[in-house]
Symmetry: C2
Amino acid sequence: MTVRKLALADASFERSPGQEGDVWTGNVVDQRHGGPITIGYGRYGPGASLDETMAVDDVMIVLEGQLSVTTDAGTVTAGPGEFVYMPKGAKVTIRAHDAGAVTAYVTYPHWQEAAAD
Amino acid sequence: MTVRKLALADASFERSPGQEGDVWTGNVVDQRHGGPITIGYGRYGPGASLDETMAVDDVMIVLEGQLSVTTDAGTVTAGPGEFVYMPKGAKVTIRAHDAGAVTAYVTYPHWQEAAAD
């Protein structure tokens, strides 16, 4: 695989698996490309939320809006340019604030393969 | 390791190893934290550039400014919210445009350990 530029326009969004909320994900690099990591973009509608037990290590970068991530240990809130690191095994609730949010994510290994296990 | 929020203010910047240019990196999560990936921020001065053969898979997200990444296959240019994916083994020249750039990066595995091999 060669060096690639990736932008939001490259993402084909699908509803995040296993939930009905206004949360959408679009991989731009994943298991189809032969490397070890998945890269993608996420979209959250106003107030949309997602409960997840992390099957992989997931780094979420907030590009627009704000998100809060809640675990047993408390809640962190991130805005543009900030990361939330969600290690494998963490049980999280991700909730967008009133303006919704656009995120990017990097996972190791590929989350779609881990979710299918 | 638990869920963590990470921001630019958490990064302690050091000159990028092996070069003398105005390019600075600051890990915020790495081999010290027990997970598989490194997360950090980068700063490039106006026009600053860096030649590198990638020791790890490296995803660079542009937060401010613009960067061009040149390989034998050509040049890609990325601005805020865009990624450049640089797979292990790629030979790259990263060059900031006139306004410099702020980036974030995620690497698998840990780049500091790979660079020390």
